[in-house]
């Protein structure tokens, strides 16, 4: 088999697996739940817009402040983590629980291609579910008679989209690894995302660099975000380093997931 043929076959295998996974991943109860959460986030954007438009509170308030709060609290620290945890851990464990993994493992496809194909489906699904929430929140808050703020902050929206995408990649790969590796990936994922990351972000020194969230916070464009509190305790990582670290983390987690899938014997309970 020539190198070029192998690459072509590998890509075709991954695409086939991704399509197969998309069907089972997207059309599920999980998606209904995530869409519900997205709608609540959009509802909060609408509420923010109403507060802004009708001056319900006396303190000065800008669309940027509301958008920043939504981004840092609801999107980055909740939606991204939950969507990737939800779908990422399901990639392999759902096949194990449903005992359908046999059908995939008995096809002439290398196991790493199965993992990467499934991961591609995860990225596609989570992008489809999270990014529209970001864009629509921005539109709800910024679209008004005076379009100057809309265009001024468009760059911030672009950055946010990029950061959310990077976060989906990194968290997605990490939770895919947990799903392939552990029997109870949800608990481990929750403890990591809401325990370990929450505590370690506030610790000084190198420890905080052992989290995904540190690199996301380092490139986060919103100054008044609660995440910046964590930065008081240590330096930000420079943007190019943070981006490349996030990409590197993604690659490492994914490679580890592929290795686990290749070497682990999955005993499907009768």
């Amino acid at each position: 088999m020539t190198g070029r043929f192998r690459i072509a076959k590998g890509w075709r295998d991954m695409k086939t697996i991704a399509y197969l996974t998309l069907d089972t991943l997207f059309w599920s109860k999980k998606t209904i739940f995530v869409v519900f959460i997205s709608l609540v986030v959009l509802g909060m954007a609408v509420l923010g817009r109403l507060v802004l438009s009708y001056n319900w509170i006396r303190a000065p308030f800008t669309p940027a402040q509301v958008f920043s709060t939504l981004m840092s609290t609801a999107v980055i620290h909740f939606m991204v983590v939950f969507v990737t945890l939800f779908y990422g851990t399901a990639l392999i464990s759902e096949e194990v629980e449903g005992k359908t993994l046999t059908y995939l493992f008995l096809r002439p496809i290398p196991k790493p291609a199965i993992m990467v194909g499934k991961y591609l489906a995860l990225v596609w699904t989570s992008v489809l579910l999270v990014l529209p929430t970001v864009v629509f929140s921005y539109l709800i808050l910024y679209l008004r008679d005076d379009l100057r703020p809309f265009w001024e902050d468009a760059g911030v929206l672009g950055k946010d989209i990029g950061i959310v995408f990077l976060a989906l990649l990194a968290y997605g790969a990490f939770f895919s690894l947990l799903g392939a590796w552990l029997k109870h990936p949800i608990l481990a994922g929750l403890i990591y995302a809401f325990g370990w990351e929450g505590i370690v972000s506030y610790l000084p020194g190198f420890t905080r660099k052992l989290t995904v969230t540190h690199y996301i916070q380092s490139i986060f464009p919103h100054e008044n975000a609660p995440a910046s509190l964590a930065m008081l305790f240590g330096e930000r990582t420079q943007a190019p380093e943070a981006v490349s670290t996030l990409l590197l983390m993604t690659a490492l987690f994914l490679a580890a997931a592929c290795l686990v899938l290749r070497e682990k014997e999955y005993v499907l309970e009768q």
């Binding site: 069907d23 359908t100 046999t102 008995l106 096809r107 290398p110 196991k111 290749r262 005993v267 499907l268």
Partner: protein, 307 residues
């Protein structure tokens, strides 16, 4: 014989539990029945053969190549798993087609092969029905369809007749026999002796993770016939019946069950015993109420072989 599958001292253990214990055998073209009671290690052996598990010890090869993590072998192998699990949202045709795509066939070929596989298992009419709405027998057949759709040289079928009605069972047995006659290597597992006997005479007996016997089923039957056969008889006059039966040279012992008006005897020649029993009882006007053989199951076969 061309050796397709070869096992040399293969063992598999889960923690402290040994599921397959140093088994050595080889399988060639045609149908081979893997027989054993529940928990004998059949499914573990099937999983080892299909590369889902890695042997803890020993060599297991297909066409001379190791199986674990050797994905190109799956171009030549089809597997029908025991577990009743599917992508329930898919229709039967979608399920077979989706798995065929993973073999790299073109879309036209996928469609052709899907149609042909569904035809082979008599599921053409239910092709567009969701698998979730299939009956147990239909689900078994769709599993069989996905296993044969890519026309593999080796077919591994784990309890393929489970849950099928008698008609579907007969059809499937016929289908498996045809595959064997076509020169394909078919390994089929079951714990029901007569099911396997209907498909092949070539069997592999497994018990407690060990291969007990390998070869022609008739040879194994002969082996069993050398042991006395237990026969349970309930009739109107058990004592008189015993008196008559004990005179025959093949009857070696008789035990009474006074509470149920019955007796259990041991015969060295059960076929002859069964042929003369009705006439004898009729002549002496003894009413026969029940006759069964506790030995007429696989467990008894194992019992004899282990003893």
């Amino acid at each position: 014989m061309t050796r397709i599958l070869e096992a040399k001292g293969v063992s598999k253990w889960y923690g402290q539990v040994i599921a397959v214990n140093k088994v050595s055998f080889s399988v060639g073209p045609g149908v081979t029945g893997l027989l054993g009671p529940n928990g004998a290690g059949k499914s573990t052996l099937m999983k080892l053969i299909t590369g889902q598990l890695r042997p803890s010890q020993g060599d297991l090869t297909l066409w001379g190549e190791r199986i674990w993590n050797n994905y190109p072998l799956f171009y030549r192998m089809g597997f029908c798993p025991e577990q009743d699990s599917f992508y329930d949202r898919m229709t039967g045709a979608e399920f077979v087609a989706a798995l065929l795509r993973l073999h790299g066939f073109s879309e036209t070929e996928v469609n052709q092969r899907t149609d042909s596989a569904l035809q082979q298992v008599n599921l053409v009419e239910a092709r567009d029905k969701k698998i979730g709405a299939y009956s147990k027998g239909m689900r078994q057949r769709i599993k069989l369809a996905q296993a044969v759709a890519h026309d593999p040289e080796l077919l591994v079928l784990d309890e393929p007749l489970a849950g099928m009605d008698p008609v579907a069972r007969k059809e499937t047995i016929r289908f498996i026999r045809i595959l064997g006659k076509e020169g394909k290597c078919v390994i089929v597992s079951s714990h029901i002796l007569h099911e396997i006997e209907a498909m092949t005479s070539n069997i592999l007996l497994i018990h407690n993770g060990q291969v007990l016997a390998e070869g022609d089923v008739h040879d194994i039957r002969d082996l069993i016939d050398k042991h006395p056969h237990h026969i349970y008889i309930r009739c109107s006059e058990p004592r008189r019946a015993a008196e008559l039966l004990v005179a025959f040279p093949d009857v070696v012992s008789i035990r009474f069950h006074p509470e149920s008006n019955a007796l259990t005897l041991e015969s060295r020649n059960p076929d002859e015993f069964y042929s003369r029993l009705p006439g004898l009882l009729l002549r002496h006007e003894i009413a026969l109420e029940e006759i069964t053989s506790p030995d007429d199951n696989l467990q008894a076969v194992f019992h004899y072989l282990v003893k």
